[in-house]
């Protein structure tokens, strides 16, 4: 546990000194602010729902860019060699990296509280929606980060890792919705179960559904497990 925290702290520190993390953070805030403004102007409704739904989609691009370097950069620089010859287990490495990026993600998410503040100043948003919405964003973020982390264990090229992560996330978040709408039997039933947006929309509407909780936690656990396994497998190649 202590080593996991040590690794997480290093990862978080690396985020704060790297320009990429700032650019991604700024890009994310800019996009979500634009989305927020457009929705208020056009919708004329002080609802947090479209904001959360929009952020969930923007994160499909933002998180892979944050996670792409997690292991790819270690492979590329060769620092993986000193890391893996230290007395740390593969699981500690994966969990440490996961926790480090999650911490950065939470900071990013916390900065969107500004939107909530603006909404309170000019309208009366539902506090329940705000609560479940942020809970949903945290669960969704954990799932996204674990997918990104997994993609990063596959290759030494950061760009490849980002593309793989975006592809996996886009298929869970966007493609599954399309398949459901196209009504391709029997695939649409499966797609409906895998559709991340379906579960997330419960949270953004203010509904806490354990199915969503289980879904996001399972995706997180699955990809963390796969990350540990791919990291282990590098030793055998």
């Amino acid at each position: 546990m202590r080593k996991t925290l040590t690794l997480a702290r290093r990862e978080l520190m690396a985020c704060f000194v790297s320009p990429i993390a700032y650019i991604i953070g700024a890009g994310f805030l800019l996009l979500s602010a634009g989305w927020f403004f457009v929705n208020i102007r056009i919708g004329g409704e002080a609802s947090l729902r479209p904001l959360f739904d929009g952020m969930a989609v923007i994160m499909v691009l933002a998180i892979p860019l944050l996670t792409m370097g997690l292991l790819s950069r270690e492979f590329d620089r060769g620092t993986i060699e000193t890391l893996m010859t230290s007395p740390v287990t593969d699981t500690q490495v994966i969990l440490g990296k996961f926790a480090g990026v999650m911490a950065f993600y939470l900071v990013l998410l916390a900065s969107t509280v500004v939107f909530l503040g603006l909404m309170i100043a000019y309208g009366r948003p539902d506090p329940g929606v705000a609560l479940t919405g942020y809970l949903g964003m945290i669960l969704l973020g954990a799932a996204y980060v674990s997918v990104g982390l997994f993609a990063s264990t596959l290759t030494r090229h950061q760009i490849v890792s980002a593309i793989v992560a975006i592809a996996i996330l886009a298929s869970l978040v966007i493609l599954m919705g399309f398949i459901v709408r196209m009504g391709l039997r029997p695939w649409d039933v499966l797609a409906d179960h895998l559709n991340a947006m379906k579960y997330f929309k419960d949270f953004s509407r203010g509904v806490f559904d354990t199915r969503g909780l289980i879904y996001f936690l399972s995706v997180t656990a699955l990809f963390l497990f796969l990350s540990v396994k791919t990291l282990e497998s590098r030793r055998w190649r």
């Binding site: 202590r2 080593k3 040590t6 690794l7 290093r10 520190m13 690396a14 000194v17 790297s18 620089r77 060769g78 620092t79 993986i80 060699e81 000193t82 890391l83 893996m84 010859t85 230290s86 007395p87 740390v88 287990t89 030793r235 055998w236």
Partner: protein, 323 residues
């Protein structure tokens, strides 16, 4: 301390290490010598638990590298070949991070860092502890890498090409440091430069084409190496073939080559053994009344031996892999 038995490593279809066995006792400084691609780094990576072997058994201080990997890793300080470091971290931050990963109790971390910083010249004469690793010169990075490896005062130090990329002064300093460290650490280092291993290490393992081609103390190897002598003579007084033929008639001379050199003839004599035959050559020359301007005898060096054995071994390995 380190025991390697029948170690073999295949990378896909490439045979990197082919059935090598050796033993290193406590307190020894062992040099792994071999040309590039000989299997040195691969062997070191297996010793440090970075990669598993395809076959064979490696134990370090009684722990098996496969089944007791974490114990082995705690006992080893490893500096990989290219000295990979995190460029965005400051030197003291990096060492602090490593100290935490190395199970050094928080209260002792700063003391441990100060100790290695001083030994690796990171705090004196110039203090680079607050500089970012990415901004440091190659020599400083190498020292940071070594400091990292020594941080937890491990009984075994594994250094892959510790002096590559350093300037001559730094090489000398690094060599002295390694010898100092040898007093209380067991050290394995690799190099493709013979002179370096000869000066730093008490024991040498020559590896080529994935196999050990020679091993022993530096002294023993030097003795063993003493190959046949070679005499060079420059003379004048007859046609070159005639000179060569006359000299070839001397006892113990195996082969004579001749080449012209500005009106003189240079003869190169390959002898059967190490004996010095310059006196016989001179006697022959004076009997015939020829002129002589140079006469010198050379015995094969460790360098010649190294070149020869590694060349032969590489040819054999290429053949084995082709089969």
């Amino acid at each position: 301390m380190i025991d390697v038995k029948h170690l073999t490593k295949w990378y896909g279809r490439v045979l990197a290490v082919d059935d090598i066995s050796f033993h290193v006792d406590k307190g020894m400084i062992v040099g792994f010598l071999g040309p590039n691609g000989a299997g040195k780094s691969t062997t070191l990576k297996i010793l440090t638990c970075y990669q598993p072997a395809t076959r064979g058994k490696v134990t370090i201080a009684g722990h098996d590298v496969l089944t007791e990997s974490l114990e082995v890793r705690s006992d080893i300080g490893y500096m990989p070949e290219a000295v990979p470091l995190y460029p965005e971290m400051r030197v003291n931050e990096l060492l602090m991070f490593r100290a935490a990963l190395r199970d050094i109790p928080p209260a002792q971390r700063q003391t441990a860092i100060d100790r290695v910083a001083e030994r690796c010249w990171l705090s004196k004469p110039d203090n680079v502890m607050r500089r970012r690793v990415g901004e440091l010169s190659r020599g400083y990075k190498q020292r940071v890498g070594l400091a990292e490896a020594m941080l937890h005062n491990p009984p075994v130090l594994v250094l892959d090409e510790p002096t590559i990329g350093l300037d001559p002064n730094q090489i000398r300093a690094m060599r002295e440091l390694i010898q100092e460290l040898g007093a209380d650490h067991t050290i394995i280092l690799s190099s493709h430069i013979l002179a370096e291993v000869e000066q730093t290490c008490g024991d040498i393992i020559v590896i080529a084409g994935g196999r050990i081609v020679a091993a022993g103390t530096t002294e023993a190897l030097r003795k063993k190496v003493g190959t046949a002598a070679q005499i060079t003579a420059e003379l004048k007084g007859a046609e070159p073939p005639e000179l060569a033929k006359a000299v070839a008639g001397l006892e113990g001379v195996q082969r004579v080559d001749h080449s012209p050199i500005g009106g003189w003839t240079r003869l190169t004599l390959k002898c059967d053994d190490k004996a010095d035959r310059r006196a016989e050559v001179y006697r022959l020359v004076s009997e015939k009344g020829w002129q002589l301007r140079e006469l010198r005898s050379t015995v094969g060096t460790l360098e010649d031996f190294f070149v020869q054995v590694t060349y032969e071994q590489n040819m054999q390995t290429a053949q084995r892999m082709a089969q």
